[in-house]
Amino acid sequence: MVRLAARNEMLPGTLDMLILKTLTLGRMHGYGIAQRIQQVSGDVLQVEEGSLYPALQRLLVNGWVKAEWGTSENNRRARFYTLTPAGCEQLDSETASFNQTVAAIFRVLETA
């Protein structure tokens, strides 16, 4: 299992990108985001709680996500995050540069 931390040495900013991507599915609370990433990655990626919340604050401050209080599926009060249009753009550009980086790494791995 890979633990996703904010200061990911390998690919910085990956956590932000994954959070943004997850939020394209709709509004979600912090725990939900972490669960979702873990699920979708087939339990390979585990989001560190210690990194999740600072990352969310960073996204908030940058205006890429919005937060509002609402009621969760089991009738609890929870804070839900939604993607903003600026967040969508950010996700696109981060995904693009991520793909580029990964492709480049692959090229090196295949040829070298």
Partner: protein
């Protein structure tokens, strides 16, 4: 980063923090619930969840960093901490704040002056294009214009948008109350166009109002309209009496408009008299507006080309040239040197104040060494500690700046009171936002300076040494002591500089006051009266004055009385070319010239001016008597060195009549005691026909007692003869001289006060430093005594140390003083820049004060009890 969004987050961070906290809580609960669902026991599930989460508090802090400005927040913390520290030692805080407030406040006051006088823009639109236009003569002297010269320039130049001419005069304004002499200007009708400031009410002058018979119209200043005419809404068209003649008010100038003088309150069209139409009758000043894009040099070149052509056509215009002076230079150019000295003075005071506070802070830093070491030991970064020192310094300086700004209202008044004769009246001194910004910047600079010093000497704090019980780290303490000594030496050097400056000025002042002005200024009242001259009337305009003089002389307490057209040191530059009878009419440029005055009998007596040869002006020199003149010694030296002057005949510019020289008077220094006398011709006032010689007269009255006490009786006597006579400029002749020497008074006062303050501050700094040094060395001193040192030796050690620091400081000041005196040269009179006597008289008191300041700490050193100081170990 989007600053505004971030500021928004900062503003609601309490709410955000609450949200985050409950959100995390939620997360832990959800996680726990999931774990329980997976079959973990509830306690175990909660434990795991909490552990997964880690330290919630630090996590929240990390998150918080994203929506705040962590550095700002920690700086605010530092400020709070600093405030607590300062509040804990109120005595120290008070002294430090007051010292800094003095250093900063002095600068605020001087800056306010500089800002108001030099930096603030003038209110005339595009004032940078306004120039005063003067006539030059063979490039070597500058004078006013004649009307024909002015007209040639006006018609032929293309470089100026417009050029106007003016001359000032007093007009007596008659109203319901006593007649008053208001300052007025006779201006060409385009004056308000050139100034770019049309009247706020009514209209400017019309071209045809420049011609005879149409000129009885007046434009009043806004302030006169308000104060003397009760803001009469129907002022336009109202007829008022000026100099006994009816004038129709056609306009009211814009509020605050007073050109050419701060007190100019009325403008009338310049309708030249017959005499003023002469090409060699120079009594007008030009004010021009350069066309956009035309430089002053281009305009001057063009005017000079016109001058060359004029010189061909008119013999009077030989050697004629022009000089354009930017309005700003004309108004405030004379004060720059004085203000530079003022800035130097308060600048040094600022340095002393900073050094002083730094010395205090260093002593405190020593006391806080353990605290600092502990904080370093538990992981504080040294950069963070530096910021903390800075916060403390900033706090001190900030409070000091507030104090300085609060008192600036009074300090500015004080400084303008002293400098009133020196600052141009057209530029009132006020404190504005720029002064406030300057003060705050200076406070920040003070904080930086102080903290640099403190931080630099605290940079070597060794954690291990400091934490050792009673380890007076010898190396550290010596470094600190040396830092303090350097600071004290700097203070003493600055104080020495200021003392040298003050001493040099005093010496120059004494020299100047020993220069005789050529008359006896003590106990003489001076009072000016505008004269209403009716060119067409047959009676002499001064007949009433003759009557007034006779009655003034009869007043008890009056020893002598006379009138003169231009009192020495009050105004000068009214000159004329001279021709001796029998001599060839000289080429204009080589013609002898002299200051010319109209003088009544009694004038020489009133000022006790000696007449080494011949006689003065007497009652027999009436309008119908043969014309006579009295000349001064400089005139004789320049123009008749080898020939007996008495009996020679001269004529003036428009001289149809030859005047016989009947006497020689001692030189009066017309332009001030630091200026050489100019050649002068005095004419009996009854024989003076030129309007410029009779339009304003100054009464000079020698009194037995206080001259100002006689002001009222003299004024009443004048009014009893002529109830319409306005009076202005009542003062003493001594005051006139002192006003003329105003820049020196200003500099002397500033230097005197601040040199004194600097000496006190420097002495306090030395005292504090030595006291601290003695405390620091108690142990060492105890050991010395135990080993048999005499107590007098200890006294000597401390005093020698104080003297050494003082000596080094004075030496440094000595070197710097060479530069200072160079700057001050323009204010000095007859003083050889570096005077040994001045240096000694500055060094001596400073050394004495330094020794006195060393004495108390030395006594304490002597009283060290070896048993106690050694037991402390």
């Amino acid at each position: 980063m989007h600053l505004f969004r971030r500021l928004g987050f900062l503003a609601q961070r309490e709410q955000l923090d609450r949200d985050l906290r409950s959100e995390m809580q939620q997360h832990v609960e959800l996680l726990t619930a999931d774990l329980i669902n997976e079959g973990t026991s509830p306690e175990e599930a909660r434990r795991i969840a909490l552990r997964r989460f880690g330290n919630q508090r630090s996590l929240r802090e990390e998150s918080r960093d994203w929506w705040g400005f962590p550095s700002v927040e920690s700086f605010i913390q530092d400020l709070r901490f600093g405030a607590r520290l300062l509040a804990r030692s109120p005595g120290f805080t008070l002294v430090a704040v007051l010292t800094l407030a003095l250093g900063i406040g002095a600068n605020t006051a001087v800056f306010s002056v500089v800002n108001s006088v030099l930096l603030r823009p003038f209110s005339y639109p595009h004032y940078e294009r306004l120039v005063n236009v003067w006539r030059t003569h063979d490039q070597n002297w500058i004078g006013s214009l004649s009307i024909p010269d002015f007209r040639d320039w006006q018609q032929q130049n293309t470089a100026l948008e417009g050029i106007a001419a003016y001359t000032t005069r007093r007009l007596s304004l008659e109203g319901p109350a006593e007649p008053q002499a208001i300052e007025a200007a006779r201006v060409t009708t385009n004056f308000f166009d050139v100034m770019g400031t049309p009247p706020a009410k009514g209209r400017a002058f019309l071209q045809e109002e420049e011609s005879n018979g149409r000129g009885n119209v007046v434009i009043l200043s806004h302030e006169t309209w308000v104060s003397d005419f009760g803001s009469d809404p129907n002022i336009i068209g109202r007829v008022i009496t000026l100099n006994r003649e009816p004038f129709t008010v056609v306009g009211v100038a814009a509020s605050g408009f007073h050109y050419p003088h701060a007190l100019t309150n009325a403008w009338v069209p310049l309708v030249p008299s017959m005499a003023e139409e002469r090409r060699d009758s120079h009594s007008f000043v030009g004010i021009g507006r350069l066309k956009a894009g035309v430089t002053r040099e281009q305009a001057t070149a063009q005017l000079n080309t016109i001058c060359t052509a004029m010189a061909k056509d008119h013999p009077e215009d030989q050697g004629l040239g022009s000089q354009l002076v930017p309005l700003k230079t004309a108004e405030v150019g004379g004060v720059e040197d004085g203000l530079l000295v003022a800035f130097l003075v308060v600048g040094f005071t600022f340095l002393i104040a900073c050094a002083n506070v730094a010395t205090f802070l260093l002593s405190r830093a020593a006391a806080r060494q353990r605290e600092i070491a502990i904080r370093l030991a538990v992981g504080a970064k040294s950069s963070r500690l530096a910021v903390q020192f800075f916060a403390e310094g900033l706090l001190l300086a900030g409070i000091a700046a507030v104090v300085a700004l609060l008192v600036s209202r009074w300090s500015v008044v004080a400084i303008t009171n002293v400098g009133h004769a020196f600052f141009p009246a057209s530029r009132p001194v006020t404190t504005d936002y720029r002064a406030a910004i300057f003060t705050l910047v200076l406070a920040a600079l003070a904080a930086v300076l102080v903290c640099l010093v403190v931080g630099w000497s605290a940079r070597h704090i060794s954690v291990a040494d400091a934490l050792k019980e009673n380890a007076a780290s010898v190396a550290g303490s010596r470094r600190r002591l040396r830092g303090q000594q350097a600071l004290v030496a700097i203070q003493l050097a600055c104080a020495f500089l200021l003392l040298v400056g003050a001493g040099t000025l005093v010496e120059s002042f004494i020299k100047l006051s020993r220069v005789s002005p050529g008359f006896d200024p003590h106990h003489v009242l001076a009072m000016r009266v505008p004269i209403s001259s009716q060119d067409d009337s047959n009676s002499h305009p001064l007949l009433l004055v003759e009557n007034e003089l006779a009655r003034v002389r009869a007043l008890p307490g009056v020893i002598a009385a006379g009138v003169i057209s231009f009192l020495p040191m009050q105004s000068w530059g009214t000159n004329t070319t001279i021709r001796f009878q029998g001599a060839q009419p000289p080429v204009s440029r080589e013609a002898p010239w002299a200051e010319v005055r109209a003088v009544s009998p009694g004038y020489y007596d009133a000022l006790r001016i000696r007449l080494p040869r011949g006689r003065g002006i007497s009652n027999a020199d009436t309008a119908s008597a043969p014309p006579v003149a009295v000349v001064n010694e400089t005139f004789v030296k320049q123009y008749s060195p080898n020939q007996d002057i008495i009996g020679r005949q001269i004529s003036m510019t428009d001289g149809q009549a030859w005047a016989t020289i009947v006497g020689v008077m001692e030189d009066s220094l017309q332009a001030g005691r630091n200026q050489p006398a100019r050649a002068e011709v005095d004419l009996p006032y009854m024989q003076a026909k030129y309007a410029y010689l009779t339009q304003s007269m100054t009464f000079v009255v020698r009194t037995a007692g206080d001259p100002l006490a006689m002001a009222k009786p003299v004024q009443q006597t004048i009014r009893s003869v002529d109830p319409h006579q306005a009076v202005f400029g009542t003062t003493t002749v001594e005051q006139i001289i002192s006003d003329l020497e105003g820049d020196r008074h200003f500099a002397l006062w500033l230097l005197g006060v601040f040199a004194g303050l600097a000496m006190v501050l420097a002495a306090a700094g030395l005292f504090a430093q030595l006291s601290y040094a003695v405390t620091e060395r108690t142990h060492e001193l105890g050991v010395r005594i135990a080993l048999g040192a005499k107590r007098s030796d200890l006294l000597r050690i401390v005093i020698v140390q104080g003297a050494l620091v003082a000596g080094i400081g004075i030496l440094g000041g000595l070197i710097a003083s060479v530069g200072l005196v160079k700057v001050m040269r323009s204010l000095l009179f007859g003083v050889n820049p570096v005077q040994a006597s001045v240096l000694i008289s500055a060094a001596l008191p400073l050394m004495i004060v330094a020794l006195l300041a060393s004495f108390l700490p030395a006594r304490r050193a002597m009283a060290v009890d070896p048993m106690i100081s050694l037991r402390c170990e």
